[in-house]
């Protein structure tokens, strides 16, 4: 097969692959379902209601007709949209023309294109097409995408645009940039194997899964109610079960329930992990990093090294057992300057973290960090606000219900907050060197944040009344992709760091992006 990139003539206007019609319809249905799901639910329930409630059945054919009408209209609209959508390349610009009534022409000059990403969902994969997402540097222009084109063609367009872009760059600057854009030449840093995927799934935060279960069981409960005929509304369901089934059964029921809950939430996290991160590949490219992952929807995200402002990595108790971290690269978004994009890689080992650190902050290993703690007064404040206020509410409740158990709960709560706050204080550390800062905090897991001084946009100190009395301050570093905050350090230290950081930022001639 002739693999010459110029076998495609980009200058003639082209339509997308016909698969795009399906994709447009799919997107429309998704949107309709998302916005009108209550109406849809009514329609569906009315159609399949066994008891055939007479009061609503009169409206039912009417609503169904509307549904079919809207559906048909959007299908026609999708086909028209497909035939009216053209893309082509002319004079170093990617041009998209679309629209029937309101004609739109979008020109994106190559030098404004930051990255071109591919995305594939199930339909895409079945027909070997991709959706092409163009991230442009226009400050208020939305991201542009071509719904479906053949994979080879998409790759040809990408390599053509990127090589043209590279050519103009070499003409402008003295730097040696290779004339051809070698996208595929990237070093694979890591690949999630099945065991890695399992580790990531198990060490996930399971509260999300628990939330889904609770939402689901609430829904189940409402429909199951009908099956317990002698259950009176408002009655404590546990009491109902107790009187119906006997106490011994209830206790074992509780144990089973809790066990099932734990198992289910782990299972949900696992399934979600597999969906999201299946076959994850994290690689180092010429311009930065790239992550490809997903079971049904293949996602490809890349981070340009210059655009990365912050690097974060975190572990948790479970993650620590497996020796894995979740890594996040926070980059300044070009599409909208104040919304940040982060690409995250779960299941990273220390070696990959070190590679990323080395790329983001090459000098880090030659510089010496000095380590500093935060003020222990932060414990008092946390106990007062996080412990005291809820405890007061609990105590009030205890007084109203005259229950000693609830009052004991308040004491327990304060004790819990006191101990976690002590750990919070003990674990909060920041490490400074000439070129950057590394912060380290967390109660159960540890979150690390690495920031180079010259990426900082603004510095702020903030003092509450209590902090002013104790000559303390919170210190904030604002970057184009997030904020780093150091709480409760001495005002003097905060000012010292501010002075130094300002000096570093103002003297530095490098571009932060």
């Amino acid at each position: 097969m002739d693999n010459h990139p110029h076998q495609y003539n980009f200058s003639t206007p082209k339509r997308q692959s016909p698969i795009a019609i399906f994709l447009i319809i799919q997107k429309l249905i998704e949107q309709i379902v998302r916005q009108f799901w209550p109406i849809l639910l009514v329609v569906i329930l009315n159609n399949f209601d066994f008891q055939a409630k007479s009061s609503t059945s009169a409206e039912d054919p009417y609503l169904t007709k509307i549904l079919f009408f809207v559906g048909g209209l959007s299908a026609i609209g999708s086909i028209i949209a497909y035939f009216k959508f053209y893309y082509y390349i002319k004079d170093d610009e990617l041009i998209i023309e679309k629209g029937l009534l309101k004609k739109t022409k979008i020109n994106i000059p190559f030098d404004r294109i930051q990255t071109i990403n591919f995305e594939q969902n199930l339909i895409h994969q079945a027909f070997n097409v991709v959706s092409l997402e163009v991230d442009s540097a226009g400050s208020n222009q939305k991201e542009i995408s071509i719904q479906a084109i053949k994979r080879e063609q998409a790759e040809a367009i990408r390599s053509f645009i990127m090589s043209e872009k590279a050519k103009t760059q070499t003409a402008e600057s003295e730097e040696v940039v290779p004339a051809t854009y070698e996208e595929e030449k990237s070093d694979l840093l890591m690949e999630l194997t099945t065991t890695d995927l399992l580790k990531v799934g198990i060490s996930q935060n399971h509260f999300r899964g628990l939330g889904i279960i609770f939402g689901f069981s609430f829904w189940i409960w409402q429909s199951v109610e009908d099956f317990f005929p002698d259950y009176r509304p408002g009655e404590n369901p546990l009491e109902y079960v107790e009187k119906d089934l006997g106490l011994g059964t209830v206790i074992s029921l509780w144990t089973y329930l809790i066990l099932a809950l734990i198992l289910f939430s782990i299972l949900i996290s696992l399934v979600m992990t597999v969906f999201q991160h299946f076959g994850l590949k994290f690689s180092r490219t010429k311009i930065g990093f790239k992550v490809v992952s997903g079971l049904f929807t293949k996602r490809e995200a890349s981070a340009n090294i210059n655009k990365i402002q912050l690097v974060r990595w975190e572990d948790s108790i479970l993650k620590r057992i497996f020796g894995i971290f979740r890594l996040s690269l926070f980059q300044a978004s070009s599409a909208a300057i104040n919304t940040s994009q982060a690409i995250s890689v779960p299941g990273c080992y220390e070696t990959q973290i070190n590679t990323v650190r080395n790329t983001y902050f090459p000098d880090e290993k030659y510089l010496n960090y000095t380590t500093h703690p935060i003020s222990s007064l932060v414990i008092n404040r946390r106990v007062l606000y996080l412990g005291g206020i809820p405890a007061l509410i609990i105590l009030l409740n205890a007084y109203l219900q005259s229950s000693i158990f609830i009052a004991a709960g308040a004491i327990l709560w304060i004790a819990l907050i006191f101990f976690t706050s002590r750990i919070y204080h003990k674990n909060w550390k920041y490490h400074l060197n000439e070129e950057g800062i590394l912060t380290e905090n967390g109660i159960l897991g540890t979150h690390f944040t690495l920031l180079k001084w010259y990426k900082i946009q603004a510095v702020k100190t903030r003092q509450s009344y209590y902090q002013r009395k104790n000559k303390l301050a919170d210190l904030y570093f604002y970057t184009a992709a997030g904020t780093v905050r150091i709480p409760y350090i001495s005002l003097e230290r905060a000012q010292e760091i501010t002075n130094y950081v300002l000096y570093k930022v103002e003297v530095d001639r490098r571009s932060w992006m």
């Binding site: 003092q463 002075n499 930022v505």
Partner: protein, 218 residues
């Protein structure tokens, strides 16, 4: 590449904490009072309207509670505004702008000029009566780090804005461009025109908020 690594004496660095903050114009306090007054007047009217139109008058406890809350709120606002005025101020330095504000939470924010995205001078209705302006400074650091300095007399806001604009990275780059332009002027006019147009296009593009991303660190 040239490697420079001078020893930095931390104590010799310019200090954020030393030096006097420039206060806002005294008329700004009046502006704030008028603004608050109008606001609480409207709230008062709403309470009176509620008294006349609804049956809140049947429950005098609720009504007087509302009035009490209204007075307390207005009083707190008055005290906070007055105290806030005393604290609020700015310091214009050669390479950055420092802004201090806040009664309950005192914040000191510093924006280096080489991180400024753009500046805006605006004027509210009440501010116009006293010829006062607000200077807004935007960075890429998000809305929390953007600055708004109100109560600037006459053309102070405009002058500070121009001062800052001339110190941004963009302005410095333009200076460099001008130096480059001077070079070829003596040789060939045609080429110079070409260079000029591309440069101007570049500058226009950059001023439209497009960030040049072509520079690579490695």
């Amino acid at each position: 590449m040239l490697f420079e690594n001078h020893e930095i004496d931390i104590d010799s660095l310019p200090k954020v904490e030393s030096g006097e903050f420039t206060k806002l114009d005294s008329n700004y306090l009046v502006v704030r009072y008028i603004g608050s007054f109008i606001f609480f007047l409207i709230v008062g009217f709403v309470i009176i309207g509620a008294y006349l139109l609804t049956d809140i008058s049947d429950t005098p406890k609720l009504f007087w509670g509302l009035v009490g809350f209204w007075i307390l709120w207005a009083l707190t606002s008055f005290i906070l505004t007055t105290m806030g005025y005393k604290i609020r101020g700015y310091r214009l330095r050669d390479k950055d702008l420092i802004h201090r504000k806040g009664v309950i939470f005192k914040t000191v924010t510093t924006i280096p000029f080489n991180r400024v995205q753009h500046c805006e001078v605006s004027q509210g209705l009440i501010q116009r009566m006293f010829d006062l302006h607000t200077l807004q400074i935007f960075t890429a650091g998000g809305s929390n780090s953007d600055l708004a300095i109100p109560g600037l007399k006459d053309d102070t806001a405009q002058r500070i804005k121009e001062f800052i604009i001339n110190k941004t990275d963009l302005a410095i780059e333009n200076e460099v461009n001008e130096v480059i332009e001077e070079g070829p002027t003596e040789t060939e006019t045609l080429e110079v025109d070409e260079i000029n147009t591309t440069d101007i296009e570049d500058i226009v593009e950059k001023q439209n908020g497009i960030i040049d991303n072509s520079k690579s660190d490695f």
